[in-house]
C-alpha cells in the first residue's frame, strides 16, 4: 500500500472532526456492540480510502457524511437481505417500554429507544433523521443525500411528528 501523506493527513483531520458523529451513526445503525465496532471500522477505512481521491466536489463535512452513510446503508442492506424489510416511520406504532429509575438512566433509555426506532427505518428516512439529529439543516442534508431540500423538509416534519407521538405515548403508559 503506497504512502499518501495528503490522504493520511486529510483522514486524521476528518476523523478528529467527525469521529463522534460516525460513532453515533454506527450506534443508530447496529445494536450489537461487536458488529457496531466492525461497522465503525469499515466506515473509517472507507473514509480513508475515499480521501485518496478527494476532489473538492463538496465540503469535507459533506464528503465524510456521504461516505459514512453509504457504508452504513450498504451494511444494513446486507444484514436485511433475507430478513424482514425496513418499515416506514408511519408503521412504527410503539417504542419499547422504558424503566424509569433516574434522569440519567431515563436519558440513556430515551437515546437507546430513539436508536432502536432509527434502526427500523427505511434507508432514506434513517439517513435524513440521523443527519437531522446531527444538527444539520435541510439544505445540508439535501446536499449529502441527493434529495431536494423540499423533500428533506417534508420528511423531517413527518419524522418529528411521529417521534413526538411515539415518545408521548410511551410516557403516558
Amino acid at each position: 500500500m503506497r504512502d499518501n501523506p495528503d490522504q493520511d493527513a486529510r483522514y486524521l483531520d476528518a476523523a478528529a472532526a467527525f469521529g463522534p458523529a460516525m460513532q453515533r451513526l454506527a450506534r443508530a445503525s447496529e445494536a450489537n456492540a461487536e458488529r457496531r465496532r466492525d461497522l465503525l471500522q469499515d466506515m473509517h477505512v472507507a473514509l480513508w480510502r475515499s480521501l485518496a481521491s478527494f476532489d473538492g466536489r463538496c465540503s469535507m463535512r459533506t464528503w465524510v457524511y456521504r461516505v459514512a452513510h453509504n457504508v452504513a446503508a450498504s451494511y444494513i442492506d446486507r444484514e436485511r437481505r433475507g430478513r424482514a424489510g425496513a418499515v416506514s416511520v408511519d408503521e412504527i406504532e410503539h417504542l419499547p417500554e422504558a424503566r424509569s429509575l433516574s434522569a440519567d438512566i431515563e436519558q440513556s433509555d430515551a437515546i437507546e429507544k430513539l436508536n432502536a426506532l432509527i434502526r427500523k427505518l427505511a434507508a432514506t428516512d434513517r439517513q435524513v433523521l440521523t443527519l437531522y439529529l446531527e444538527d444539520l439543516d435541510a439544505a445540508s442534508i439535501a446536499e449529502i443525500t441527493g434529495l431536494s431540500p423540499g423533500a428533506v423538509a417534508t420528511r423531517i416534519s413527518r419524522l418529528k411528528a411521529q417521534l413526538a407521538k411515539s415518545f408521548h405515548e410511551t410516557a403516558n403508559v
Binding site: 471500522q41 432514506t124 439517513q127
Partner: protein, 173 residues
Amino acid sequence: MSLAEIHTHAERFQSRIRWRNAIEYIAAALVVAAFGWMAFAVPVPMVQAGAILIVAGALYVCWKLNEFGRAATKAELDKATSLTDFHRAELLRQRAALSTVWRWYLGPFVPGLLVFLGGVAFAPELDAPSAARFSIFATGLGFTGIIFAAVGALNAMAVKKLDAEIAALDRAA
C-alpha cells in the same frame, strides 16, 4: 482508529476481495478440469464436443464475473457520491447482474449441456433401446431444467424486489 490500524484494515479489505475472486476462479478451474479431462478421456465425439462447450461456457462466466467484480470494486471506491446516487447505483448494478443471469450465467452452459447429455444418452457404445436412451436424455434435461428454472425464478423474485426499492428511491427524491 490509528493510521496503522487503518492501513492494516484496508489491506485486509483488499485481501478479502482477492480471496473472493480466487474462490470464483477455483470453482471455474474445477469445472474446466473435470470437463476438460472428459473431452480427452471419453472416446465419444458428441460427449467430447459437449465437454468442450461446457468448458467454453465456464470460461465465459468467469470473464463476466470478473467484469461485474471490477464494476463493484470501482463503485466501492466512490462512496462520496450522494446517498441516493450511491444507493441507486448499487441497486441498478445488482439488478443488471440478476436480470441478465440467463444471458451470462445459465445460458452459456446450455449448448454444452444439451450436446453432452445427448452424447451420453445416444452414444453408440451405450447398449440400450431407444426408449431408454430418450429416457436418459429427458431425465438429464429435466433435472437440469429444474435447477435452471429455480435459479431463474429466484433471480426474477430478487429483481422484482430491487425494482420496488429503486422505485421507492425515485419517489423519495
